[in-house]
Symmetry: C2
Subunit: 118 residues, 2 copies
Amino acid sequence: MLGDRWSLLIIRDLMLRGFRTYKEFLGCYEGIATNILADRLQKLTAHGIIGAQPDPEDGRKWIYSLTAKGIDLAPVLTEMVLWAAAHEDTGNQALVQEMKKDKQKFLAAIRQRWAEGK
Amino acid sequence: MLGDRWSLLIIRDLMLRGFRTYKEFLGCYEGIATNILADRLQKLTAHGIIGAQPDPEDGRKWIYSLTAKGIDLAPVLTEMVLWAAAHEDTGNQALVQEMKKDKQKFLAAIRQRWAEGK
DNA sequence: TAGATCACTTGTAATCTGCAAGTGAAATGT
DNA sequence: ACATTTCACTTGCAGATTACAAGTGATCTA
């Protein structure tokens, strides 16, 4: 269900990088094809991990967001980021430091952010 | 690097189900092809996540094991199992209960088991 | 109202995967 | 000693999946 090259990246960027629209995803990943992105967004939606709403300010856009099920992946993503930081070259040292310092606080902040609807 | 259908399952079963040989993996997953299994074991080895040693009791067999880098995936796998248990139908309720009850203790036990060389 | 932007869809070629059948080395049975 | 079986793979090939380029229609902007 998450066992493909892009799904977890999409969730990560919704959760940690504030991505919201198709264009943001498409522009960011080197190499993701338009049809594959559309397919993954659709499958994640079908699995109830993300949701989509029309943008009230621009009728062409859709705004993607995490569902409760998607937000519950925060501990998984956090551990993955920490693992990658420990064993591979990764950027984003600030984020990693914040996670390491107080994991529970970090997770609580993510949940809080989504509870507030942003 | 782990973004495919089988790699994380292989790591999970090395870590939690005590799998050690090619045959165990092959017999367990419905549908994994022999060449794909060989390929994944090789790639995981190349990435330093698993290692392989010849079986001293049977010259045909290889014994696969987790490296330190692989063992460090325990928190990721644990959170994934807990997420799946909360949101999908999964078996292995005993394992899930043990993880939930004391996550740190559970992780310490995994590390201990590997430190002892089993 | 012409052109740009947006989120896709479609077509096609290349790549990857799944399955069946094989291979060689090592173990087992007689 | 020799045939058979087991083991961990490899090989060949058809079918599925993916990447890339080029649209498409609805919506926004100048």
